[in-house]
Symmetry: C2
Subunit: 192 residues, 2 copies
Protein backbone atom coordinates (compact mmCIF):
# COMPACT_ATOMS: atom_id res chain seq x y z
CA UNK A 1 0.00 0.00 0.00
CA UNK A 2 1.22 3.45 -0.88
CA UNK A 3 2.00 6.01 1.80
CA UNK A 4 -0.40 8.93 1.75
CA UNK A 5 1.54 12.16 1.76
CA UNK A 6 0.20 15.69 2.06
CA UNK A 7 0.68 17.98 -0.95
CA UNK A 8 3.63 19.65 0.75
CA UNK A 9 5.20 16.35 1.81
CA UNK A 10 4.82 14.95 -1.70
CA UNK A 11 6.39 18.06 -3.20
CA UNK A 12 9.35 17.81 -0.82
CA UNK A 13 9.75 14.12 -1.55
CA UNK A 14 9.88 14.77 -5.30
CA UNK A 15 12.40 17.61 -4.81
CA UNK A 16 14.64 15.43 -2.65
CA UNK A 17 14.59 12.60 -5.18
CA UNK A 18 15.26 15.08 -7.97
CA UNK A 19 18.22 16.64 -6.16
CA UNK A 20 19.80 13.21 -5.92
CA UNK A 21 19.34 12.48 -9.62
CA UNK A 22 20.53 15.86 -10.94
CA UNK A 23 23.58 16.01 -8.68
CA UNK A 24 25.62 13.22 -10.23
CA UNK A 25 24.52 13.39 -13.86
CA UNK A 26 24.65 16.09 -16.51
CA UNK A 27 21.33 17.90 -16.80
CA UNK A 28 20.63 16.44 -20.23
CA UNK A 29 21.04 12.88 -18.96
CA UNK A 30 18.36 13.12 -16.32
CA UNK A 31 14.81 12.08 -17.24
CA UNK A 32 12.39 13.35 -14.65
CA UNK A 33 10.06 10.44 -15.37
CA UNK A 34 12.56 8.46 -13.29
CA UNK A 35 11.56 10.62 -10.33
CA UNK A 36 7.96 9.49 -10.72
CA UNK A 37 9.12 5.87 -10.79
CA UNK A 38 11.25 6.20 -7.65
CA UNK A 39 8.47 8.07 -5.82
CA UNK A 40 5.93 5.53 -7.12
CA UNK A 41 3.63 8.24 -8.41
CA UNK A 42 2.18 8.75 -11.89
CA UNK A 43 3.97 10.98 -14.38
CA UNK A 44 0.80 13.06 -14.45
CA UNK A 45 1.11 13.81 -10.77
CA UNK A 46 4.77 14.78 -11.20
CA UNK A 47 3.87 17.16 -14.04
CA UNK A 48 1.07 18.56 -11.87
CA UNK A 49 3.69 19.67 -9.32
CA UNK A 50 6.38 20.67 -11.85
CA UNK A 51 5.15 21.38 -15.39
CA UNK A 52 8.60 21.20 -17.04
CA UNK A 53 12.02 19.77 -16.34
CA UNK A 54 13.36 23.32 -16.09
CA UNK A 55 10.76 24.26 -13.46
CA UNK A 56 11.57 21.13 -11.51
CA UNK A 57 15.28 21.79 -11.61
CA UNK A 58 14.90 25.44 -10.52
CA UNK A 59 12.69 24.40 -7.59
CA UNK A 60 15.29 21.85 -6.48
CA UNK A 61 18.00 24.49 -6.44
CA UNK A 62 15.75 26.88 -4.52
CA UNK A 63 14.79 24.23 -1.96
CA UNK A 64 18.41 23.13 -1.41
CA UNK A 65 19.51 26.76 -1.02
CA UNK A 66 16.81 27.49 1.56
CA UNK A 67 17.62 24.31 3.43
CA UNK A 68 21.26 25.30 3.71
CA UNK A 69 20.39 28.85 4.80
CA UNK A 70 18.13 27.52 7.56
CA UNK A 71 20.73 25.02 8.73
CA UNK A 72 23.50 27.65 8.92
CA UNK A 73 21.61 30.50 10.63
CA UNK A 74 23.96 32.21 13.14
CA UNK A 75 23.59 31.82 16.91
CA UNK A 76 23.84 35.41 18.16
CA UNK A 77 24.34 34.28 21.78
CA UNK A 78 27.97 33.24 21.14
CA UNK A 79 31.09 35.21 20.08
CA UNK A 80 31.61 36.26 16.48
CA UNK A 81 34.41 33.76 15.96
CA UNK A 82 32.20 31.02 17.37
CA UNK A 83 29.26 32.12 15.20
CA UNK A 84 31.46 31.83 12.13
CA UNK A 85 33.03 28.57 13.24
CA UNK A 86 29.68 26.96 14.08
CA UNK A 87 28.12 28.30 10.87
CA UNK A 88 30.95 26.79 8.85
CA UNK A 89 30.71 23.50 10.75
CA UNK A 90 27.05 23.28 9.85
CA UNK A 91 27.73 24.34 6.27
CA UNK A 92 30.56 21.84 5.73
CA UNK A 93 28.61 19.12 7.54
CA UNK A 94 25.74 19.73 5.14
CA UNK A 95 28.10 19.58 2.17
CA UNK A 96 29.76 16.41 3.47
CA UNK A 97 26.50 14.59 4.14
CA UNK A 98 24.60 15.99 1.17
CA UNK A 99 27.31 16.24 -1.49
CA UNK A 100 24.73 15.82 -4.25
CA UNK A 101 22.58 18.63 -2.90
CA UNK A 102 25.60 20.90 -2.56
CA UNK A 103 26.92 20.17 -6.03
CA UNK A 104 23.56 20.60 -7.71
CA UNK A 105 23.38 24.24 -6.64
CA UNK A 106 26.82 25.17 -7.87
CA UNK A 107 26.79 23.07 -11.03
CA UNK A 108 23.56 24.76 -12.02
CA UNK A 109 24.98 28.24 -11.51
CA UNK A 110 28.20 27.35 -13.32
CA UNK A 111 26.21 26.05 -16.27
CA UNK A 112 25.25 29.64 -17.01
CA UNK A 113 21.51 29.34 -16.54
CA UNK A 114 20.31 32.84 -15.60
CA UNK A 115 17.41 31.70 -13.41
CA UNK A 116 19.49 29.16 -11.52
CA UNK A 117 22.33 31.61 -11.10
CA UNK A 118 19.91 34.15 -9.69
CA UNK A 119 18.61 31.66 -7.11
CA UNK A 120 22.17 30.77 -6.08
CA UNK A 121 23.30 34.41 -5.99
CA UNK A 122 20.33 35.41 -3.81
CA UNK A 123 21.40 32.73 -1.32
CA UNK A 124 24.99 33.98 -1.34
CA UNK A 125 23.77 37.55 -0.89
CA UNK A 126 21.76 36.52 2.19
CA UNK A 127 24.84 34.82 3.60
CA UNK A 128 27.03 37.84 2.83
CA UNK A 129 24.63 40.10 4.73
CA UNK A 130 24.89 37.81 7.74
CA UNK A 131 28.69 37.93 7.69
CA UNK A 132 28.82 41.70 7.12
CA UNK A 133 26.36 42.30 9.97
CA UNK A 134 28.63 40.33 12.28
CA UNK A 135 31.78 42.11 11.09
CA UNK A 136 30.11 45.53 11.55
CA UNK A 137 30.11 44.82 15.31
CA UNK A 138 33.91 44.49 15.23
CA UNK A 139 35.14 47.12 12.74
CA UNK A 140 34.12 49.60 10.06
CA UNK A 141 32.71 47.87 7.01
CA UNK A 142 34.00 49.61 3.86
CA UNK A 143 34.23 48.83 0.14
CA UNK A 144 37.32 46.66 0.68
CA UNK A 145 35.53 44.66 3.39
CA UNK A 146 32.60 44.02 1.07
CA UNK A 147 34.85 42.99 -1.79
CA UNK A 148 36.80 40.69 0.56
CA UNK A 149 33.63 39.01 1.80
CA UNK A 150 32.33 38.51 -1.76
CA UNK A 151 35.64 36.92 -2.71
CA UNK A 152 35.68 34.82 0.44
CA UNK A 153 32.38 33.18 -0.49
CA UNK A 154 33.84 32.18 -3.82
CA UNK A 155 36.86 30.82 -1.93
CA UNK A 156 34.70 28.74 0.43
CA UNK A 157 32.58 27.36 -2.39
CA UNK A 158 35.60 26.46 -4.52
CA UNK A 159 37.51 24.67 -1.77
CA UNK A 160 34.39 22.87 -0.56
CA UNK A 161 33.72 21.53 -4.07
CA UNK A 162 37.40 20.56 -4.33
CA UNK A 163 37.27 18.85 -0.96
CA UNK A 164 34.13 16.86 -1.80
CA UNK A 165 35.91 15.43 -4.84
CA UNK A 166 39.22 14.95 -3.03
CA UNK A 167 38.88 14.89 0.78
CA UNK A 168 42.64 15.18 1.43
CA UNK A 169 42.21 17.30 4.59
CA UNK A 170 39.92 16.93 7.61
CA UNK A 171 36.71 18.91 7.84
CA UNK A 172 38.17 20.74 10.84
CA UNK A 173 41.23 21.81 8.82
CA UNK A 174 38.97 23.02 6.04
CA UNK A 175 36.83 25.00 8.51
CA UNK A 176 39.86 26.55 10.22
CA UNK A 177 41.24 27.51 6.80
CA UNK A 178 37.97 29.30 6.02
CA UNK A 179 37.86 31.10 9.40
CA UNK A 180 41.42 32.44 9.31
CA UNK A 181 41.09 33.43 5.65
CA UNK A 182 37.97 35.51 6.28
CA UNK A 183 39.45 37.48 9.17
CA UNK A 184 42.71 38.08 7.28
CA UNK A 185 40.88 39.11 4.11
CA UNK A 186 38.81 41.72 5.94
CA UNK A 187 41.85 42.81 7.96
CA UNK A 188 40.21 42.23 11.34
CA UNK A 189 41.84 40.50 14.31
CA UNK A 190 38.88 38.90 16.11
CA UNK A 191 38.59 39.39 19.90
CA UNK A 192 39.30 36.26 21.99
CA UNK B 1 47.62 51.00 -49.08
CA UNK B 2 47.34 47.99 -46.81
CA UNK B 3 50.04 47.22 -44.29
CA UNK B 4 51.90 44.01 -45.14
CA UNK B 5 51.99 41.81 -42.07
CA UNK B 6 53.84 38.54 -41.62
CA UNK B 7 51.73 35.43 -41.08
CA UNK B 8 52.40 35.57 -37.34
CA UNK B 9 51.68 39.31 -37.11
CA UNK B 10 48.43 38.86 -39.03
CA UNK B 11 47.40 36.00 -36.77
CA UNK B 12 48.10 38.09 -33.67
CA UNK B 13 46.22 41.05 -35.12
CA UNK B 14 43.15 38.90 -35.77
CA UNK B 15 43.32 37.41 -32.25
CA UNK B 16 43.58 40.86 -30.66
CA UNK B 17 40.61 42.17 -32.64
CA UNK B 18 38.66 39.02 -31.78
CA UNK B 19 39.41 39.32 -28.06
CA UNK B 20 37.94 42.82 -28.10
CA UNK B 21 34.76 41.70 -29.84
CA UNK B 22 34.11 38.59 -27.75
CA UNK B 23 34.78 40.31 -24.44
CA UNK B 24 31.77 42.61 -24.35
CA UNK B 25 29.20 40.56 -26.24
CA UNK B 26 27.66 37.14 -25.70
CA UNK B 27 29.36 34.52 -27.86
CA UNK B 28 26.29 34.11 -30.07
CA UNK B 29 26.15 37.81 -30.87
CA UNK B 30 29.65 37.98 -32.33
CA UNK B 31 30.06 37.44 -36.08
CA UNK B 32 33.67 36.79 -36.89
CA UNK B 33 33.19 38.31 -40.34
CA UNK B 34 33.33 41.60 -38.44
CA UNK B 35 36.92 40.75 -37.53
CA UNK B 36 37.79 40.52 -41.23
CA UNK B 37 36.20 43.93 -41.82
CA UNK B 38 38.06 45.61 -38.95
CA UNK B 39 41.36 44.02 -40.01
CA UNK B 40 40.59 44.89 -43.65
CA UNK B 41 41.24 41.35 -44.83
CA UNK B 42 39.04 38.99 -46.82
CA UNK B 43 36.80 36.52 -45.04
CA UNK B 44 38.68 33.80 -46.90
CA UNK B 45 41.94 34.85 -45.26
CA UNK B 46 40.29 34.88 -41.82
CA UNK B 47 38.93 31.35 -42.36
CA UNK B 48 42.37 30.28 -43.55
CA UNK B 49 43.77 31.19 -40.12
CA UNK B 50 40.75 30.03 -38.08
CA UNK B 51 38.46 27.51 -39.81
CA UNK B 52 35.53 27.94 -37.41
CA UNK B 53 34.26 30.46 -34.90
CA UNK B 54 34.92 27.93 -32.16
CA UNK B 55 38.56 27.52 -33.25
CA UNK B 56 38.97 31.27 -33.35
CA UNK B 57 37.49 31.73 -29.91
CA UNK B 58 39.64 28.98 -28.35
CA UNK B 59 42.80 30.50 -29.86
CA UNK B 60 41.90 33.91 -28.43
CA UNK B 61 41.53 32.45 -24.96
CA UNK B 62 44.84 30.59 -25.30
CA UNK B 63 46.68 33.69 -26.54
CA UNK B 64 45.30 35.91 -23.77
CA UNK B 65 46.20 33.29 -21.15
CA UNK B 66 49.78 33.00 -22.43
CA UNK B 67 50.13 36.76 -22.57
CA UNK B 68 49.09 37.08 -18.94
CA UNK B 69 51.43 34.25 -17.87
CA UNK B 70 54.39 35.94 -19.59
CA UNK B 71 53.55 39.33 -18.11
CA UNK B 72 53.28 37.96 -14.56
CA UNK B 73 56.38 35.71 -14.47
CA UNK B 74 58.03 35.98 -11.01
CA UNK B 75 61.30 37.84 -10.45
CA UNK B 76 63.32 35.37 -8.34
CA UNK B 77 65.89 38.03 -7.38
CA UNK B 78 63.49 39.67 -4.90
CA UNK B 79 61.84 38.45 -1.66
CA UNK B 80 58.82 36.14 -1.77
CA UNK B 81 56.47 38.87 -0.59
CA UNK B 82 57.83 41.20 -3.27
CA UNK B 83 57.52 38.47 -5.93
CA UNK B 84 53.89 38.04 -5.03
CA UNK B 85 53.24 41.76 -4.76
CA UNK B 86 54.90 42.52 -8.10
CA UNK B 87 53.21 39.56 -9.77
CA UNK B 88 49.83 40.80 -8.54
CA UNK B 89 50.61 44.37 -9.63
CA UNK B 90 51.33 43.11 -13.13
CA UNK B 91 48.26 40.87 -13.08
CA UNK B 92 45.89 43.59 -11.89
CA UNK B 93 47.47 46.14 -14.22
CA UNK B 94 46.81 43.76 -17.09
CA UNK B 95 43.22 43.30 -15.97
CA UNK B 96 42.70 47.04 -15.55
CA UNK B 97 44.14 47.95 -18.94
CA UNK B 98 42.79 44.90 -20.81
CA UNK B 99 39.44 44.32 -19.12
CA UNK B 100 38.04 42.75 -22.27
CA UNK B 101 40.94 40.33 -22.55
CA UNK B 102 40.61 39.42 -18.88
CA UNK B 103 36.86 38.91 -19.03
CA UNK B 104 37.00 36.85 -22.20
CA UNK B 105 39.05 34.16 -20.47
CA UNK B 106 36.78 33.83 -17.46
CA UNK B 107 33.47 34.25 -19.27
CA UNK B 108 34.51 31.46 -21.59
CA UNK B 109 35.34 29.11 -18.73
CA UNK B 110 32.14 30.02 -16.87
CA UNK B 111 30.09 29.28 -19.97
CA UNK B 112 30.91 25.60 -19.45
CA UNK B 113 32.79 24.98 -22.68
CA UNK B 114 35.12 22.03 -21.92
CA UNK B 115 37.92 23.12 -24.29
CA UNK B 116 37.91 26.72 -23.07
CA UNK B 117 37.75 25.62 -19.46
CA UNK B 118 40.73 23.35 -20.05
CA UNK B 119 42.77 26.23 -21.51
CA UNK B 120 41.90 28.45 -18.56
CA UNK B 121 42.54 25.70 -16.00
CA UNK B 122 45.97 24.93 -17.50
CA UNK B 123 46.88 28.59 -17.04
CA UNK B 124 45.68 28.55 -13.43
CA UNK B 125 47.62 25.33 -12.80
CA UNK B 126 50.82 26.98 -14.12
CA UNK B 127 50.23 29.92 -11.80
CA UNK B 128 49.53 27.63 -8.84
CA UNK B 129 52.81 25.81 -9.41
CA UNK B 130 54.62 29.15 -9.31
CA UNK B 131 53.01 30.11 -6.02
CA UNK B 132 53.54 26.68 -4.44
CA UNK B 133 57.21 26.68 -5.50
CA UNK B 134 57.65 30.03 -3.74
CA UNK B 135 55.81 28.89 -0.61
CA UNK B 136 57.90 25.69 -0.46
CA UNK B 137 60.92 27.91 0.31
CA UNK B 138 59.13 29.24 3.40
CA UNK B 139 57.26 26.28 4.88
CA UNK B 140 56.10 22.72 4.34
CA UNK B 141 53.58 22.48 1.52
CA UNK B 142 50.84 20.01 2.50
CA UNK B 143 47.32 19.14 1.32
CA UNK B 144 45.85 22.12 3.19
CA UNK B 145 48.36 24.50 1.55
CA UNK B 146 47.43 23.19 -1.89
CA UNK B 147 43.72 23.49 -1.19
CA UNK B 148 44.24 27.03 0.15
CA UNK B 149 46.17 28.09 -2.95
CA UNK B 150 43.53 26.63 -5.27
CA UNK B 151 40.84 28.51 -3.39
CA UNK B 152 42.92 31.69 -3.38
CA UNK B 153 43.06 31.74 -7.19
CA UNK B 154 39.28 31.58 -7.27
CA UNK B 155 39.23 34.42 -4.74
CA UNK B 156 41.58 36.60 -6.83
CA UNK B 157 39.65 35.95 -10.04
CA UNK B 158 36.29 36.67 -8.41
CA UNK B 159 37.32 39.95 -6.78
CA UNK B 160 39.16 41.11 -9.90
CA UNK B 161 36.06 40.55 -12.04
CA UNK B 162 34.00 42.33 -9.37
CA UNK B 163 36.45 45.20 -9.26
CA UNK B 164 36.48 45.64 -13.04
CA UNK B 165 32.70 46.07 -12.99
CA UNK B 166 32.70 48.21 -9.84
CA UNK B 167 36.11 49.79 -9.09
CA UNK B 168 35.15 50.92 -5.56
CA UNK B 169 38.65 50.34 -4.13
CA UNK B 170 42.12 51.28 -5.42
CA UNK B 171 44.26 48.78 -7.26
CA UNK B 172 46.74 48.92 -4.38
CA UNK B 173 44.01 48.03 -1.86
CA UNK B 174 42.94 45.15 -4.06
CA UNK B 175 46.52 43.90 -4.36
CA UNK B 176 47.16 44.17 -0.59
CA UNK B 177 43.92 42.28 0.04
CA UNK B 178 45.15 39.47 -2.23
CA UNK B 179 48.61 39.35 -0.60
CA UNK B 180 47.40 39.18 3.02
CA UNK B 181 44.70 36.68 2.13
CA UNK B 182 47.16 34.25 0.52
CA UNK B 183 49.58 34.24 3.45
CA UNK B 184 46.74 33.86 5.97
CA UNK B 185 45.10 31.08 3.96
CA UNK B 186 48.31 29.02 3.82
CA UNK B 187 49.06 29.85 7.47
CA UNK B 188 52.50 31.32 6.76
CA UNK B 189 53.86 34.53 8.23
CA UNK B 190 56.19 35.83 5.51
CA UNK B 191 59.71 36.95 6.54
CA UNK B 192 60.32 40.73 6.40
Amino acid sequence: MRTRLSTEQRREQLLTIGAGLFANRPYDEVWIEEVAEIAEVSRGLLYHYFPTKRDFFAEIVRAERDRLLRLSAPDKSVSHVDQLTIGLDVYLDYAQHHPDGYRVIHRAAAAGDAEIREIRDAGQAANRERILAGLADLATVDATTKLAVRGWFTFVTAITLDWLDNPAVTREDLRDLCVRTLFAAVGITPPD
